[in-house]
């Protein structure tokens, strides 16, 4: 086994400790805060712009100050526009994004938990070879698989169905890697042996004892795979042509394309900004609420 697993890689946050005792003088602290402040402004400014812009009509998008509100009440008009433009297809897109991200993300997580646990806690023939392949595949760029996957799925008639997006999203070799490393650290073999001696079956032990202990890693892998599916652009772009099936990312990109083409009736800049703003809220909110899980979870497998 590698040195990665020498000790638990995820420990309780030390945030409660007083970090000033680490010897940072007041001047350094001011300098550090200024630096962080500048970075924070750079990283948040586009989001501020989007918030402001989502409350503007198309004409005030062009004419008013870009970084401040013009007439916030216009947000209501924009949302109404999202319900009426092309028959409210925006909400179908948003629903599709939820469907794909949820089924793809949850499915990938379940597979990763099972496989990670299997690799970590059972010695079986072919284990080393199988895991070696999975580890190597972490380095295969998944976008290189889109064209051949498209050709394969078109042979079985799955193109232009939700399955064409959901099924390939179940593949998360990195998730398996994370779950394996975490399981090795978090669940001692002795505990499983004790459960076996008490007469608990393998699957019962897994569900009753192991699963609750894996919670931080499960949340992390779930978030990572939901984000990956929610973010994916190449896959749905290639697989789906029916506008009713598109996720919100591809849909909004199509609106931008049309608006840029300058076709009079298709210039919906206000709907693009407000639609984009609404579409980023679910993930932003989940990250905010689950931060104590994923922040620790992201260190899995990366500390000796």
């Amino acid at each position: 086994m590698s040195a990665v697993t020498d000790k638990p890689s995820v420990r309780k946050s030390r945030s409660s400790r007083d970090h000033t005792e680490r010897g940072v003088g007041d001047n350094r602290r001011i300098g550090s805060h200024v630096l962080l402040g500048i970075l924070a402004i750079y990283f948040i400014l586009p989001l501020w712009w989007l918030l402001v812009s989502s409350t503007k009509s198309t004409s005030s998008l062009f004419s008013s100050a870009p970084l401040w509100f013009d007439n916030p009440a216009d947000f209501v008009d924009n949302v109404q526009g999202l319900f009426t433009h092309q028959g409210g297809i925006y909400w179908t897109w948003l629903g599709n994004s939820f469907l794909y991200a949820f089924t793809g993300g949850v499915g990938a997580t379940i597979l990763a938990i099972l496989a990670g646990y299997g690799f970590a806690k059972y010695r079986f023939r072919g284990r080393g070879v199988a895991f070696g392949f999975i580890l190597g595949s972490v380095m295969v760029p998944l976008t290189a698989l889109v064209v051949p996957t498209f050709l394969l799925l078109s042979n079985v008639g799955l193109i232009n169905t939700p399955w064409a997006v959901i099924l390939p999203s179940l593949l998360s070799p990195f998730g398996v890697y994370l779950m394996r490393v975490y399981t090795q650290d978090a669940i001692p073999d002795e505990m499983l042996e004790a459960a076996r001696i008490d007469g608990s079956g393998e699957f019962r032990t897994f569900f009753r004892i192991a699963l609750p202990m894996l919670k931080p890693a499960i949340v992390t892998v779930l978030l990572l795979s939901v984000v990956a599916t929610w973010n994916n652009f190449f896959l749905p772009l290639a697989m789906l042509s029916d506008p009713q099936l598109l996720p919100v990312t591809v849909g909004l990109n199509n609106w931008t394309k049309l608006s840029n083409a300058g076709a009079g009736g298709e210039q919906v800049w206000n709907l693009i900004t407000s639609g984009a703003f609404i579409s980023i809220l679910p993930l932003l909110i989940s990250f905010l609420f689950l931060q104590r899980y994923w922040q620790g979870g992201l260190a899995i497998g990366s500390v000796k």
Partner: protein
């Protein structure tokens, strides 16, 4: 490694003979990993194999499908469009990866020495772009770059200057670098920060007693101790950069003159497959890209194997 070879026949509840138990465990182990392995084979091994198979053939309307062996590869590696695309993403990688990781490392090291409300807030703000879909991020920056919508014109006017044309062919490289840096630095920062948090702080005390300064502690103790995280983050940055696709595709809508349809190898493969129906050549490009990225990451991993957490 066990030596059991016969198919597991043991039933639950049979006499607990040690060999039987071991065999049963083997079977349970396979049960746990097989659902993933199934998906792995169907959506990774088979597509890769199929892409390779497709790349060995050439289809034309006149002659139909014919076996052409390595011809497509010879064509690809002498195709100026593909080579130019590869060179372009290579150049992107050289600029973008040090920039992203540098910002991420700096921010993480600074965050690690502070525990104030302000620092916690900035940590979340810097991370926030990761939660934004890449398409939306690119759309937003497209607006911000635009002379019609963006704040750049207003800001530069204050200083009596004309805003640069971010979407022109000259500046599009920097504009794309900026989008990617904005999108990913925060994620890398959080990974590095989480690794820094799990170092035992008593090490720093010892160093300080020996007279080490804050910067020395950061560079001589903290960075080496999180080298496996750094390697992992670098691998992901390499893989991500070389498969560059979404940002240029989205910006191409508003800057078609500066970004052509074969700007990156992925875009080239997409255009070949879905605009020109050249599926064999598209498969060749996709497969070549996959192999090149794999080899690149593998070499990097090989030279950093002592530090990496991925060896096993």
């Amino acid at each position: 490694m066990e030596t059991t070879t016969s198919p597991a026949r043991a039933k639950a509840g049979s006499a607990q003979h040690p060999g039987t138990v071991a065999r049963r465990r083997q079977r349970v182990g396979w049960l746990f990993v097989s659902p993933f392995l199934l998906i792995f084979v169907i959506f990774l091994v088979v597509p890769l194999g199929y892409a390779f198979y497709m790349s060995l053939f050439t289809s034309t309307l006149a002659a139909g499908k014919s076996f052409t062996g390595a011809d497509n590869y010879i064509k690809a590696f002498t195709d100026p469009i593909f080579l130019e695309g590869m060179a372009r993403v290579g150049f992107f990688a050289l600029v973008m990866i040090p920039l992203q990781i540098g910002i991420a490392l700096l921010a993480a090291l600074v965050l690690d020495t502070l525990a104030t409300k302000l620092s916690k807030a900035s940590r979340l703000l810097i991370f926030a772009p990761y939660a934004i879909p890449v398409v939306i991020g690119a759309l937003m920056w497209g607006f911000l770059y635009s002379p019609r919508f963006g704040p750049a014109t207003t800001i530069f006017e204050v200083f009596g200057m004309q805003a640069p044309e971010f979407l022109s062919a000259n500046l599009i490289f920097g504009s794309l670098v900026n989008i990617v840096t904005w999108q990913w630095s925060g994620y890398y920062m959080i990974v590095i920060y989480a690794a820094l948090r799990s170092i035992d702080a008593s090490i720093y005390e010892a160093a300080r007693v020996d007279g080490a300064t804050g910067t020395q502690i950061a560079l001589r103790i903290k960075v080496p101790m999180i080298s496996s995280s750094m390697v992992m983050v670098l691998i992901f940055a390499i893989i991500g950069t070389l498969q560059f696709f979404t940002e240029p595709v989205v910006l191409r809508n508003i800057a078609p003159g500066a970004i052509d349809a074969a700007f990156t190898p992925n875009m080239y493969a997409y255009a070949l497959a879905f605009q020109y129906s050249q599926f064999n050549y598209a498969s060749t490009i996709a497969f070549s890209l996959g192999i090149l990225v794999f080899i690149g990451s593998y070499i990097f991993l090989y030279f950093t194997r002592k530090q990496s957490g991925l060896e096993k």
